[in-house]
């Protein structure tokens, strides 16, 4: 949640915000669902303005899993009706360009299909707006500028100032999406309108296969005797019972722990 004081200053301004949403899939069951990052984008959009954000999807209006976004308390979802294999970018850009928006939020990567994460960049490029990737919050909006926080590795954050209007993708570290409630999800309306999206030519001759498991690169044992390297290469994988230190002084035990922490790179 945004700090109390801030959400109040934000609430005084009515911002026009759109969130681009896609159909996600559960990583294990592959069942269609709301995409987690897109839902976080909707959540962020909801927290920014007293006015409800608009939700936009390019695809089929008949997809019931889109209703999960409506269950977050929105009345309406706009679908630009298109086949599965179209290039959504031009259609989105031209639609968004007509809407007089302040902020367009998206997820970082889609859960289905190519999931390249290029869409927000391409849309921003066509609109001529700046794009800020991986934001976790919008801290303030004033004088035509927004201050946003961007996610960095290991829980770190960076503050950026960006002029409105802009496109931003929302990082998985942002506030999780609120629960989707069944009642509003059923009652919300999905309005579809035709759009002139062209089939995605670039992708026409690509092939899609189930993901092949990638072999994990083994830690390389360099130096030492052949026997030592052999031992390192055939060592038990992790999790099958590790080393237990019972003997020694407390200091030696602490040293063993610290050595491991340094080796893992978490203590520098």
């Amino acid at each position: 949640m945004l700090p109390e004081s801030r959400s109040k200053t934000m609430a005084s301004q009515a911002m026009k915000i759109a969130a681009l949403v896609s159909v996600g899939q559960h990583p294990l069951s592959r069942r269609e669902r709301r995409a987690d990052q897109d839902a976080r984008a909707v959540e962020l959009a909801l927290s920014l303005s007293p006015e409800l954000p608009s939700l936009i999807h390019v695809g089929s209006a008949r997809n019931e899993s889109l209703r999960a976004y409506l269950g977050m308390g929105l009345n309406n979802l706009k679908v630009l009706n298109a086949d599965q294999d179209v290039d959504a970018v031009p259609a989105l850009a031209s639609y968004l360009g007509e809407q007089a928006l302040d902020i367009v939020l998206t997820g970082v990567r889609a859960e289905c299909g190519e999931g390249s994460g290029l869409l927000p960049y391409a849309v921003a490029d066509q609109l001529g707006w700046p794009i800020v990737p991986r934001i976790v919050s919008v801290v303030s909006i004033a004088g035509g500028y927004a201050e946003v926080w961007q996610a960095l590795p290991r829980g770190q954050r960076r503050a950026l100032r960006v002029p409105l209007p802009f496109v931003a993708s929302v990082d998985p570290a942002a506030e999780p999406a609120r629960q989707s409630a069944f009642g509003p999800a059923q009652r919300g309306s999905i309005d579809s309108r035709p759009c002139a999206a062209e089939p995605d030519q670039a992708r026409a001759n690509w092939q899609q296969h189930p993901a092949k498991p990638r072999p994990k690169r083994l830690a390389v044992a360099k130096g030492g005797t052949a026997a030592e390297r052999m031992k390192a290469a055939t060592a038990k994988p992790q999790g099958q019972g590790g080393q237990v230190i019972t003997e020694g002084t407390d200091r030696e035990k602490a040293e063993a722990i610290l050595a491991r922490l340094v080796a893992e790179g978490v203590v520098r």
Binding site: M1, P130, A159
Partner: protein
């Protein structure tokens, strides 16, 4: 690298070709073959090299008469100085735009450079790997990682290239493109900037970049699709955002890392302004995001000491439910089935018995270290390293040790007031 004997066709080719520019340096490395025990060995039979067909050939050019190329066992190469690979007059470039987090090559950067070399060598004409290193570069050995040429800049028209400045960086890529037109543009697909810059660059070039690419050849590329569930097989595009371990890092050879000239682009107007890092207290990082968690359970008595250790180690604090129920730790610090599921790289569990509900929450952790009195408890079974000791005593020694290391410098940057800290948490 495994110990399996791997043929390296390129090295073998060089060994057979005395006129190859790298021949000398490669053979020089072979002069003193050092056995695994460290003994210097000279094999009297190894006075020549082996042809592809298996026939032995004498090496008349051999500088000191003992040079011999075996069947190519790179694992045995023990030379101090690796052979230098030169690309004298490249007819093209493979550009690798590096992340250099903290000014140093990440392992991801090395993988990208390794792949860049692979692609460069797959080209029919000589191609050089052009490493683009922008910002504060502390890495001194870009050549060792596979850079034949380097464009290194830490500022553009007095604008530093540190922090977040994708627009400046893109302008430099643009200038590079105009001068050198690399055959491929490679980026690490990473959160350290590579994915962002690469996406911007692809959009600017109007290229459909390959993203999360993990198997790349000159012609085809395999990319991981959404949720890591699909592989997309596609022709290799000019811009590639590469997954970690996309290629083997360069190990046997050195490269020249010669600086390349670049006419600087016109000054660019920057729309996104970096206001600097937000200082985040490690103990306040959300558990789900934390990289290193120090978690306390019912076996911790001295809570001031626990907080102190967490601060000194720079760890994020976690707790078992009992520690939370007893009021020593706030609820949002509870790890486990009814708390937070964490995915830290290192999880240090102190005085936690390892109830199933707790272990469920740390299933994703890479390394678990335990401090416990009971060697038979489930946490010890889960841990990669356990010390059987009293938590308070080990904590005291850890504090001493850290004190001696003289670490614990306070993080710099904007101070966060409490509300924001909670937001981050």
């Amino acid at each position: 690298m495994s110990l399996r004997i791997r043929r390296n066709p390129r090295l073998e080719r060089i060994r057979r070709n005395r006129l190859h520019p790298e021949y000398e340096s490669l053979m020089a490395a072979r002069v003193s073959a050092i056995g695994p025990t460290g003994l210097r060995r000279i094999n009297p039979h190894q006075t020549g090299f082996v042809m592809v067909q298996g026939r032995k050939r004498l090496n008349r050019l051999n500088p000191d008469g003992v040079g011999f190329a075996g069947a190519g066992q790179p694992g045995r190469v023990q030379a101090k100085e690796k052979p230098l690979h030169r690309v004298a007059d490249p007819l093209g470039y493979v550009a690798a735009v590096l992340d250099l987090p903290g000014g140093r090559l990440s392992s991801h950067d090395r993988d990208v450079l390794g792949l860049a070399q692979q692609l460069a060598q797959a080209k029919d004409e000589p191609h050089a790997v052009l490493a683009i290193a922008l910002g504060d570069v502390r890495e001194t050995d870009l050549g060792g990682a596979g850079a034949d040429r380097v464009i290194q800049l830490n500022q553009l028209h007095n604008e530093p290239l540190t922090g977040y400045c994708p627009e400046l960086k893109r302008a430099i890529l643009n200038a590079t493109e105009q001068h050198y037109q690399p055959a491929f543009w490679l980026f690490p697909d990473s959160i350290d900037g590579g994915a962002d810059l690469g996406s911007r660059w692809a959009v600017q070039l109007g290229e459909r970049a390959a993203v999360q690419a993990w198997q790349v050849s000159k012609e085809t590329t395999v990319c991981r699709g959404g949720s890591q569930l699909t592989d997309w097989h596609r022709p290799t595009p000019r811009v590639l955002l590469l997954a970690p371990e996309c290629g083997a890092p360069v190990e046997e050879l050195r490269h020249e890392a010669l600086p390349l000239e670049l006419t600087l682009p016109e000054p660019v107007s920057v729309t996104i302004e970096d206001l600097g890092p937000v200082s985040v207290d490690p103990s306040q990082i959300a558990l789900s995001e934390a990289e290193f968690i120090l978690a306390a359970g019912n076996g911790v008595r001295n809570w001031d000491q626990f907080h102190q250790v967490a601060t000194v180690l720079g760890a994020t604090e976690g707790a078992s439910r009992v520690a939370v129920d007893d009021g020593y730790m706030p609820r949002h610090r509870q790890v486990g089935a009814s708390g937070t599921w964490v995915s830290a790289w290192v999880y240090l569990a102190v005085g936690i018995s390892g109830a199933i509900q707790h272990l469920q929450g740390i299933g994703q952790c890479e390394t678990v270290i335990a401090i416990n009195l009971d060697a038979g408890c489930d946490m010890v079974r889960r841990a990669d390293l356990t010390v059987i000791a009293d938590s308070e005593a080990v904590f005291a020694e850890l504090l001493n040790l850290m004190n001696e290391r003289q670490t614990g410098i306070a993080p710099q940057g904007v101070t966060v007031h409490e509300g924001e800290a909670r937001h981050v948490a």
